[in-house]
């Protein structure tokens, strides 16, 4: 079982994982905002810039629509890894949408969308500060030795 958390001031649900961008040779931990409303996972500039992504090397054009309008984003094949301590790593191979840096979206956290969440069973109980995920499927399960 994976465990998430709720932000103190925002109350938003988060889960920590690792993002690997093989083509760009970037590996970084990341705290995702759990968003069942997002069709796909999205890397926002505050994380992308922290990781040192060279946006000039990105390709692809994925159109996304939010309340604020239509955006054009990059697409990059990545691995997203979550750990169940001392038991399993769960690895997902996805095409991650990467938003272009823009001052208007700097304070938004990266989103974990339904491309991954649809493979989990979530228990969401902010009243008890309980946010857990039972993993139903993953692209690769990696057992961890005791």
């Amino acid at each position: 079982m994976l465990r998430g958390r709720f932000g103190d001031t925002s109350g938003r649900p988060y889960i920590e994982g690792r993002l690997i961008l093989p083509r760009l040779k970037i590996r970084s931990d990341i705290s995702f905002w759990v968003d069942t409303g997002a069709d796909r996972s999205l890397l926002l500039p505050s994380d992308g810039m922290r990781m040192g992504i060279d946006y000039t090397k990105l390709t692809g054009d994925a159109e996304s629509v939010g309340v604020g309008g239509v955006c054009h984003n990059y697409v990059e094949p990545v691995l997203v890894v979550f750990s169940e301590p001392r038991r399993f790593l769960y690895v997902y191979s996805i095409d991650l949408i990467i938003a272009n840096p823009d001052p208007e979206i700097m304070d938004i956290q990266s989103l974990l969308g339904r491309d991954i969440l649809n493979q989990w069973r979530m228990t969401y109980d902010p009243t008890k500060k309980r946010l857990t995920f039972q993993v139903i499927s993953a692209d690769v399960f990696v057992p961890l030795s005791p």
Binding site: R3, R5, F6, G7, D8, T9, S10, R12, Y14, E16, G17, R18, I20, P22, I26, R27, S28, D29, S31, D35, G37, A38, S46, D47, M49, R50, M51, G52, G66, V67, L79, V81, F82, S83, P85, R86, L89, V91, S93, M106, D107, I108, Q109, L111, K129, D139, V140, V142, L144, S145
Partner: protein, 95 residues
């Protein structure tokens, strides 16, 4: 590509699983400071960007770039850091 071939390709890119597990546990423990009521970061760093590493605020400032500069000047590993904007009156997000 067969499932086995794909799995092998993923495992090659993954690195050492035990290291990842250990580092993610540390990262997750550190992130808890952003969920903590004692102390609350909003009380100390209102309307500031903060960089959290191993559960402690290692840099803070009014701009994202200034916090990144501090991280680099201190030689902290960006890949294990969370950078967040702390504000009591956060924008309402409807995503």
């Amino acid at each position: 590509m067969s499932i086995e071939t794909r799995e092998k390709a993923v495992l090659r890119q993954l690195g050492n699983p035990a290291d990842i597990d250990r580092e993610l546990q540390s990262f997750r423990r550190g992130a808890k400071v952003l969920s903590s009521e004692h102390p609350r970061l909003i009380d100390r760093y209102p309307k500031q960007w903060v960089a959290v590493y191993r559960g402690k605020v290692k840099a803070h400032g009014r701009t994202f770039r200034s916090v990144l500069q501090q991280i680099d000047q201190k030689g902290l590993p960006r890949e294990h850091i969370i950078v967040r904007y702390i504000d009591k009156n956060q924008r309402t997000m409807i995503l």
